[in-house]
């Protein structure tokens, strides 16, 4: 009954700052490039799923159709924080699995401009009028900074520090090594927002944002888009040999939310849902972490990448510090992680990220990654997490024929 699922077209725009383009330009560029890559037209797409966090309420999918082809197909505008792009892909895949489409287009896009590391929370707090309790905590004023921090750099810093509390051999230096690696990797990626190599000392000596995350250990804001054309195995058999040869199999597609844990009252738990998603994905694919030739995981902050080594079973339990110390996730290591440069240096236009990591892995599996190619890559895993929380994991395989 279950049909295979395939990526036959993939694209991403360069990530960066594009003030002269609008969010539709970015989405249209990625969509048209993915269609071209698939040797397909918009008329062949039977569903469209679009992920864009900031434009989620604004019919971006339909606005995109008006620029690339209004064919009347179902459009899903989805959002799931930093897992928004992965959710768009999953939604497109659902329509394939449900038998409602045999070819579909998923687009992730975001235009963030220079909104800054703290987002809207970076703006000044209004002066207090009379105190009146409001909201679910009966707070009489905004409590950010008064009752700890709930902003991203601090939340992920504390998530990393909790791992350090529980496991030996993890500290500021290990976290910094993650960023050193991703900056180094990005130098090989022409699509990355930044391509500058930094020494470990430079990473550790950069402006401290939220210890242990320095500015060079935090992903930037930026603009960009990515898209994939997906189809069923049955459909794939009808397509041209050139398309079939470059097709990449989606061996697992998983979305999870965070199950209850006691510490949710302090801050979201980014580990349990990732562990669950990874376990489900390995089971779906019939593969294990040792089969992975490369991994694109959600390094929104260096502290996050380190704990995901364990969450994704890339290292032994408790062994994430050792894993980075022995350079296992470097591109010439045993399990290359974020050879694109990762969110930290490739960039993180929110809605685009979960689609762009599929583009990255697919490009390696196709042997088309140029200077940054992981030679002979056959299997790769992508991972994103949106705080609050949503986790998307996909496992891709090179076509065996």
């Amino acid at each position: 009954m279950a049909d295979d699922l395939w990526i036959i077209g993939a694209s991403m725009t360069p990530f960066g700052r594009f003030p002269d383009r609008d969010v539709i330009d970015l989405a249209a560029t990625a969509a048209l490039d993915a269609l071209d890559d698939a040797s397909a037209t918009i008329a062949e797409m039977q569903t469209l799923a679009v992920g864009c966090l900031t434009e989620a309420p604004n019919m971006l999918g339909q606005r995109l159709q008006k620029q690339i082809g209004q064919t009347g197909i179902p459009v899903y505008n989805v959002a799931n924080a930093c897992a928004t792009g992965a959710t768009a892909v999953r939604t497109a895949l659902l329509t394939l699995k449900a038998g409602e489409a045999d070819m579909a287009l998923a687009v992730g896009v975001e235009q963030m401009g220079k909104m800054g590391l703290l987002g809207s929370a970076g703006r000044a707090r209004p002066e207090p009028a009379g105190y009146e309790p409001s909201g679910r905590y009966g707070s009489v004023m905004p409590v950010e900074g008064i009752l700890g921090t709930q902003l991203m750099p601090g939340v992920f810093a504390q998530a990393g520090m909790e791992y350090a509390y529980e496991h030996d051999g993890v500290g500021f230096e290990q976290f910094a090594k993650v960023a050193e690696k991703n900056h180094a990797h990005s130098a090989l990626n022409p699509l990355a927002q930044y391509r500058k190599v930094f020494s470990l000392e430079e990473v550790m000596g950069a402006e401290m944002v939220a210890y242990p995350n320095t500015l060079l250990m935090c992903c930037p804001t930026g603009d960009g888009a990515a898209a994939v054309v997906v189809c069923t195995g049955t459909k794939l058999k009808t397509l041209d040999p050139g398309v079939r040869r470059r097709a990449v199999k989606i061996s697992a597609s998983v979305l999870t939310s965070d199950p209850y844990v006691e510490s949710d009252t302090a801050q979201p738990d980014v580990s349990t849902l990732t562990k669950r998603a990874a376990a489900q994905a390995y089971e779906q694919a019939g593969l294990g972490p040792s089969d992975l030739d490369l991994v694109e995981l959600h390094d929104c902050f260096a502290t996050a990448e380190l704990i995901h080594y364990e969450n994704l079973q890339l290292c032994e339990p408790g062994g994430a510090g050792d894993f980075i110390d022995r350079r296992a996730p470097w591109r010439d290591g045993t399990t290359p992680v974020n050879v694109s440069g990762g969110l930290i240096s490739k960039g993180h236009p929110i809605g685009a990220t979960g689609v762009a990591n599929l583009y990255e892995v697919a490009t390696h599996l196709r042997g088309e990654a140029g200077d940054r190619q992981i030679e002979g890559a056959r299997v790769g895993l992508t991972h994103v997490i949106g705080l609050g929380s949503a986790c998307g994991v996909h496992i891709l395989e090179r076509a065996t024929s």
Binding site: P133, Y137, S139, V140, G145, L147, P153, A164, V209, A266
Partner: protein, 137 residues
């Protein structure tokens, strides 16, 4: 009309008028015991819909911390934010007070005790009281 109170807790799960001094109070699920600090519709753990108020312990252990150096304009930096596991149950986020905001001075696993401080005064002169934690032995 009563006179406006002079001190109000910054959040309603901080109780200032307990017999033993300030204390955090949780909504505890009567079915499974899960603790929550916010107004509830049902239990995130088991789905039950009944809760009772429960005062929590005033000492605990720092499970994680960060030292925030870049913050919103009106927030003084640096400061130490931490995840504190309270003795007897309950996990809460707050600032660690009375400690240098220096990674050499804050340690994972350090023992802390609840403390309160004034975090603002409104136009009517009412003081908002927040909680934090200070090093304890």
């Amino acid at each position: 009309m009563t006179e406006a109170p002079r001190r109000v807790p910054v959040v309603d799960y901080l109780s200032l008028d307990g017999a033993g001094g300030p204390v955090l109070r949780a909504n505890a699920c009567t079915a499974c015991g899960a603790l929550f600090f916010d107004r509830r519709n049902a239990c995130a753990r088991c789905g039950a819909r009944e809760f009772e108020h429960r005062p929590l312990g005033t000492t605990g252990t720092v499970r994680a911390f960060t030292i925030v150096k870049r913050a919103a304009p009106n927030v003084p930096v640096p400061y130490v934010s931490a995840v504190v596991a309270l003795d007897g149950g309950g996990v809460v986020k707050a600032n660690i007070r009375d400690v240098e905001p220096d990674p050499a001075q804050v340690t994972l696993g350090m023992r802390v005790a609840l403390t309160t401080f004034t975090c603002g005064t409104d136009v009517e002169g009412t003081e908002a009281v927040a909680f934090g934690f200070a090093p304890a032995t």
